[in-house]
Structure formats: C-alpha cells, structure tokens
Amino acid sequence: MKHSVVSLTINGAERQMLVAPGSTLIDVLRESQGLTGTRRGCEQGACGTCTVLVDGKTAMSCMLPVETIEGAHVETIEGLTPPQGLHPIQEAFLQGFATQCGFCTSGMIMVAAALLAKNPNPSREDVVRAISGNICRCTGYEAIIDAILDAAVRIRSAAHAEAA
C-alpha cells in the first residue's frame, strides 16, 4: 500500500497531505486537518451530515477519495464561519431554533449555503428539495426550512443594504 501526497485548498488555504489509498475527504478533514465540524454519520451517502462544498457544489465527504479531487477547493463549516460573529445562515439557525442535538447542523448549513448561492430567493419547496439528502432526527425539519428561508431574506437584505 503506497501513500500519496494530495493538495487541496481547504477554506482558502492550500494544504498538502499524505494519504493512504482511498482515504475519504471526511477522514482527511477530521483527522489530518482537525476540522471536526464536518460530522461522520453513515459513510454511505444516506444522511448528508458530512456534506461540504467541493468546488462550490455540495458533496458527501464520506464518499470522496481525496486522490480523485486533487487541486479542488473545499469549504467546510469552519470556513463558512466569519472571523467575527456568524454567517447569516448560522444566525438564522441560531435565532430560529433550528438546532437540537446539532449533529446534522453543519451539513444542513453547507447545503443551505450552496442553495442560496445558486438561488437567492428559494421557495419552500426549493429548500425541501435542497435538504432532501440531509437527515435530521430531532427537529422534524420545519425549523430548519424556516431558518433557511429566513437566511435568504437576511442575505438579500444585507446585499440590498450594501448596494444602497
């Protein structure tokens, strides 16, 4: 078994790492990069809790061997969090009681980030569709859907304020 060196840009910083064959992105993020905000849930793409952005698109980090995404830009919940305060999506989840145990939250927020980047004014159904790969066993989803819709409003009004 031969290890290989893989380069990724993680949360804006270029990182090189030595990986065993088939090492998944989640293993690399959590174990060699210490980015434990990405959670391990099922390792089979069924729960979405390990969702991160790879080149701007959501991906389940448990099913991506890092050798196959050499050079990719990866963004995690740690990268989404601004140095001061919270991202509007995080603020909306916080204010909207959209977390209970918190285990699915990182994945939900990353999915919301990708959705709102592509569609700043989503319908409720758009949100349901976007999070349909992410399982939350505590909330019953309604608070999460409300929070994502609220985040869309927050982001739009912030953009509006900036333009004005």
Partner: protein, 453 residues
C-alpha cells in the same frame, strides 16, 4: 410561538411562569451552528487502536469454535478480545437498582442469542485493518431453533440460562395489576369489545452512531469519551464488569448527536475500556451505520390485547389487558419498560375493574431497550385506538367518550395511587376549542378537580 395559556389551575400554582412559554436561546446552539460543539469523536489521540466487532450471523446458535489465526495475520492487528478477557462477563444494566439476574454476557461464551450479537473484538492500528481482520475470523456455529414471536416464546423451550423465556417479577411470569373484578364487570356490561394491537420494533437512528474512545491515563485511570445518554449508569456498570473501583474510571460526555433513548445501554464502553486496559493504548469503538441499525436496541415491539366491558352510555366498567413486550434476546431496560407499561394501564380513565398481565418476553431478536416514553407509547397507541373503536361501536363522539371516562382528582387508579393534578378534561376541552368543535354542555362544564353529579 403561541403564549402558554396560564389561566388553567391558576390557584394551584405557587410561582409565576417566567421562562415557560418564553423563547430562551439554547446554551449550545452557537457551538452547533459553527460546528464547534465537541462530540466524543472530535477528541482524538495519537496511537489510537480501532475496535471492530465480529458479529453473529445466526439468530440462535451454539459457538463450537472461534478461529482467529487468519485474522491475527492481517497487518496492523494487535489483539482480539473474547469473553475470556472480560473480568466479570455477566451483567444486566439495571442491577444497579437491584434488578436481576445477570442475563447478558459482555461477550458470549458458548452461544449467541440474536443475529448481530457481538462475539469477539478486533483491535488494530487502522479501522480498515480491524474490518479486514474481523472478516477473517471464522466462527463455527451449530444452529439452534430461533423463536421470534412473543406468545410462542412463552411456551417454547427456554433458551435463556435462567430457565424462562420471560422475566420473573416477584415469582410471577408477568407484572400484574388486579383492581376490582373484571369478570363481574364483563357480566354486567352491555357490550364487551375486544381488539388486538401490535407494533414493530422502532430504531432511533440517531445521526451520530453509538461510540466511545477509552484512553489510559498516566495516573492509572481510564478516561472514556462517550456519547452515552447515561454517564453514571455506564460508569458503574463498567466498574462492575471490569472489576475496578469506580474511581479508576472517568467518563466525559453529555454531548449526544441524537439519542432518543438509543444510547442508554452499556455496550461499547466496557469493551473499549477493556481493550485500553489490556493494550495500554487509546481504543475507539464506534458503530457503523449498519451496526447502529441492526444491533443498537430499538423500541420494543409490543402486542396488546384489550378487552373492555362497556355500558350503552359509554362508561367503561371493566378493562382486561394482556400485554407482551418483546425484550429481544436480553433484558436491558425492558423489565423496567414492562412495569411502566403495566402501571400506565388502563390509561387516564377511571375504570372500576381492571386486570393487567404485562409480560417481558425474551425472543431471538435484537434486544430492545429505551426509547422516548418506552413502555407507555405503544400502550397509548393501543388504548386510544381502543377508545376510538368503542366510540365508533357506540356511535358516540370520541372526545365525549373520553371525557365521560376521564379520571379526576381524588379517583383511585388501578395500581392504587390516588389521582392528583389531573388535567385530561381541560386538555380535551382545549383541543375541542382549538379545532372548532362544539362539546355538549355537560362535557363543556366538566372539571378535573370535581366530579359532577
């Protein structure tokens, strides 16, 4: 969010409600939304060994032999734990509150009682090596007939070492409630209505699977980072299993990525800690999703027969309940759940004649245990389905049927506790109001605190 209605029982309440009904930010939410909440798996140590379990592929079988030779040859394998390594192999979780006998082995000795039961634990340098070695362990089984049905189990050949396929409650084969005379009640009733209700096991499926990491410390203690919902139960059971003083163990936890009752058993921690003690290295034992679904204790399946003696006006004068809780292969929390189920009967209704037999039955299915309101939830499904059946049979309004039979303060319950603080009448009245339903005046005027007429 709708404000709490504080007009009910205002005289009964001593304090003003300043938090109930208000929105208060969760203390842990900021950690959740930034991904900084620390779950057990976020704490890692160099030199950690990974534990993977060899599991039974049979529902019920004798273990004739375990061949670990090929497994030990897999590069990275350090040790394989069997029952011989466990200081006190037999336990039952609730022995801490005096429940016995010890009916479950940490690792089985000569037989497996359910599919997925852990047999031996592989410790290796990487999860991949541990998984490969676990695949290389050869277990020689001799199949025994399994039993999956609770009523069949009551009469089939006992497969449990203590001689019965049911838990023995103070010399009885079930938890019993006797109140009044149900047979007399049935004889006096206008109608006798009997139905059977049944549920399947329900898995909690927490997004975070069950797991822990046990780390030997310089001072001779073991620190266990765990997502258990029951830190002290776990600590005390571990001390008994491992034969060490309680103060040799330290549990760090309380942050649970979804529990719902599914993380109150003591399964992963004793084995991980044993591995840590025997290798002097940190040991991580985390269920895969498949293991979580297959072997973590679900809510028990139940089968409930309800026979009611009912008068034409809707009064229930006799209720006989025969209830079976499928504990699966081992007791765990089911004995307690069955007692809860019995105590919950006959529901929140005042019935003068009640007879309850609640059986905690062992079968060759995955052991069941706690889950949100276990012992009560399925019973309520059965009871309230039965109430609807009665209402339909009598062509009576289902809310009014419930109000007619609802217990009131001062009534004697079947298990001989006096009702105090009842609010069922008011809850049904509020539900009627909120759904725009008109109750007949005599029902609208009822109160939990007095009994009219």
């Amino acid at each position: 969010m709708e404000k709490i209605d504080t007009s009910f029982f205002a005289k009964e309440r001593e304090a003003e409600l300043s938090v109930v009904g208000e929105s208060v930010q969760r203390a842990d939410a900021r950690g959740h939304v930034t991904g900084r909440t620390q779950f057990y798996e976020d704490v890692t140590f160099p030199n950690t060994l990974h534990l993977k379990m060899v599991r039974s592929t049979r529902h019920h079988a004798l273990i004739k032999g375990i061949d670990t030779e090929a497994a030990m040859k897999v590069p990275g394998v350090v040790r394989i734990l069997t029952h011989k390594d466990v200081p006190n192999n037999w336990y039952t979780i609730l022995k801490l509150i005096g429940v016995g006998p010890d009916d479950e082995p940490v690792l089985p000795e000569d037989r497996v009682l359910f599919m997925g039961e852990q047999i031996c634990a592989v410790l290796a340098e990487t999860p991949q090596a541990a998984l490969e070695a676990a695949r290389r362990v050869v277990v020689d089984y001799e199949d025994l007939p399994p039993v999956f049905d609770v009523e069949a189990a009551m009469t089939s050949t006992p497969f449990k070492k203590d001689g019965t396929n049911y838990f023995v409650y103070e010399g009885h084969n079930c938890r019993r409630i006797r109140f009044g005379d149900v047979e007399k009640g049935f004889a006096e009733a206008d109608h006798v209505i009997e139905h059977r209700y049944e549920s399947s096991p329900i898995e909690h499926a927490p997004t975070e699977t069950t797991g822990c990491t046990a780390k030997p410390e310089g001072n001779g203690r073991i620190t266990i980072y765990s997502n258990t919902q029951a830190l002290y139960f776990t600590l005390d059971n571990m001390a008994l299993i491992l034969g060490v003083p309680f103060n040799k163990l330290r549990l760090v936890g309380g942050t649970v990525g979804g529990g719902f009752g599914g993380k109150v058993d003591v399964i992963v921690e004793p084995i991980a800690a044993l591995g840590a003690m025997l290798t002097n290295r940190p040991v991580k034992y985390a269920y895969s999703r498949a293991e979580e679904m297959q072997v973590s204790s679900p809510r028990a399946a139940e089968r409930i027969y309800i026979k009611d003696g009912v008068m034409k006006d809707g009064r229930i004068i006799a209720r006989k309940i025969t209830l079976y809780v499928d504990a699966g292969a081992y007791c765990r929390h089911s004995t307690y759940g069955t007692t809860k189920a019995a105590a919950h009967m006959p529901g929140p209704y005042t019935i003068p004649n009640v007879h309850v037999d609640a059986y905690c039955v062992y079968t060759n299915r995955t052991p069941s245990s706690a889950m949100r309101g276990f012992g009560v939830t399925i019973g309520d499904f059965a009871l309230e389905s039965q109430m609807d059946q009665i209402a339909r049979f009598l062509d009576m309004d289902p809310m009014e049927l419930r109000l007619l039979n609802a217990y009131r303060d001062g009534d004697m319950k079947a298990h001989r506790k006096k009702v105090d603080g009842a609010a069922l009448v008011e809850v049904i009245q509020a539900a009627a109001r909120q759904t725009g339903k008109q109750l007949a005046p005599r029902f609208a005027k009822m109160s939990s605190m007095t009994r009219e007429g």
